[in-house]
Amino acid sequence: MSAPDFTRPDFTRQEMMAIATGREIRDGELAIFGVGLSMLAGYFAQAHHAPNVRAMTEGGVYGATPVGGLPWGIECNRLSVNATSFTSALDALGFLVASGRCDVGIIGAAQVDRFGNVNTTGIWDGEIGESYRPPKTRLPGAGGANDIACGAKRTVIMVTHEPKRFAEKVTYISSPGYLEGANARERYGFPGGGPAAIVTTLGILRPHVETKEFQLDSWFSFSSVEEIRANTGWDLKVAPDAHVVPEPTQAELAALRRVDQTGALRKKG
């Protein structure tokens, strides 16, 4: 990828997360971006190193690049303004993603666990129990992330690194990671391979090749192994070759900020 920039430009943790996520996207790939920060990460990749990425949103909006800053949603006029094709959710999420054609999807998470399972549905006080009962805190639901998690060849999960978000086991699996680990996904015949990385505000976690347990792959220059372990709700293993992530280059930051015109990623950090 790019060499670290020793001029140490000022950037936020969210910007680092978006850039690290964007680095996961390769040129020419068929890619689907969720709403919000994951969309910024994806279109950053397009603006920086993946000009031929075949990007779409789950609304069936193709060929668009956001204009005027972070789109409010996946059909937002900021995205609709220069699309080359509008179709439908069935097309984008079904024909192109659940089918197994899509190379990579970026999804968010309210909570993620040791095996990359994602909860975006609700927070319960304790177990849900045999029968369903209302959550203490209702979250947005699965959206297209479940379909992306099942169908995309690989996914990248983007999430703020806080202990409450990194659970040993999520209460509710909205979007499957590796379920109970190892080859548990095979039971369901998903065409997608599962999450390749969890990119956080502190670093990057990747699954162990066999157990599929997520372990620390790398940390950001402003973070550390200790800080990450302290903010993870399970006993996080550290990969033998764990390393520091190169800081954003000037070119990367410039590209990201062209996409993030309204500074959504600079508001907190």
Binding site: V35, G36, E58, G59, G60, V61, V67, G68, L70, W72, G73, I74, E75, C76, N77, R78, S80, V81, F86, T87, S88, A89, L90, L93, G94, V97, A98, N117, T121, I128, Y132, P134, P135, K136, T137, R138, L139, P140, G141, A142, G143, G144, A145, N146, D147, C150, G151, Y172, I173, S174, S175, P176, L179, R185, R187, Y188, G189, F190, P191, A264
Partner: protein
Amino acid sequence: MTHSKLIPLAEAVRRYTWDGMQYASGAALPIGSDAIVFGRELLRQGRRDLHAVFHCSSQQLNLLAGAGAATKAECGFSALEVFGFANGLRRAVESGAMALEDYSNLAMPLRYLGGALNWPFVPATTNIGSDIQHRSAFAPHDTPARTKIPTVTDPFSGREIGAYSVLQPDLAAIHVTLADIRGNSIMLGTEWSRFELSRAAKKVVIIADAIVDSGCIRQFPNLVRIPDIIVEAVVHWPYAAWPQSSPGMYDVDEEHMHLMNKALATREGTDRYVADFVEGYDDPDSYLDLIGRDRLATLAKTETAFLLDPYRQWILSPDQVAGLSARGVAA
């Protein structure tokens, strides 16, 4: 063949809705174009106990849930994207006032597709293996099977996959950009699942931002994804998706999106919102006054306005539309 199906919004709600019905809308993304004004009218007429079927919640379901009119809902996504959680819906779910059955954003159009085809079930290759598959917010006797997404065996491979129940809502209120007086409809921007929903629903009412002469329909038949033959009625209501956006027509009203969602976070705020923005107008004109003509002019200055250019010549003026209402038509 030239019968007009144009009727007033209040009449459409009176004629095609009832307490306890299965009502579908919210048909174009969480914060995209949606027949929100139809939901406002449902509240004005005091409809209750609605079973809401919304691919994504949108501000419409946020409002219906927050005001207590929906007691059941099925969604693929139930928040407001970058505008945050849907506070009215959230309050209803957390309090137990509304049972929310979760699916994904692919599951919902597939269940519409299955309803449109009148299939007994739809193959599910996603949603299985997650808690969406078996956890049901509805009482078990409310679903056709004992489990929400049961398995079915592929006769070719012997492999098990999931099976969705299908959706055939009593009514779909579908927002479109342009329609003629018979219901031939053009959507600008993603269809999301409006095409499938229009075929799944038992009845369809079109809510159009603008009415066009049928010359527009004959010039662009490939854009007419909802043909008149499946449409019961057409309601003309400018800015019907407000405060959400309608590509080519108007942008999202960011300020009102926040104001509305903040209000819906509490019972009191909701009451105030209903008094102000649900009961606060009598017809399209006073609705537009309520929003504010200046604000509307700003929203209409969308960068997507060029998308509407090819069709502008056929858009009828309010006076022309008034002369074409279902009863007045002679041609």
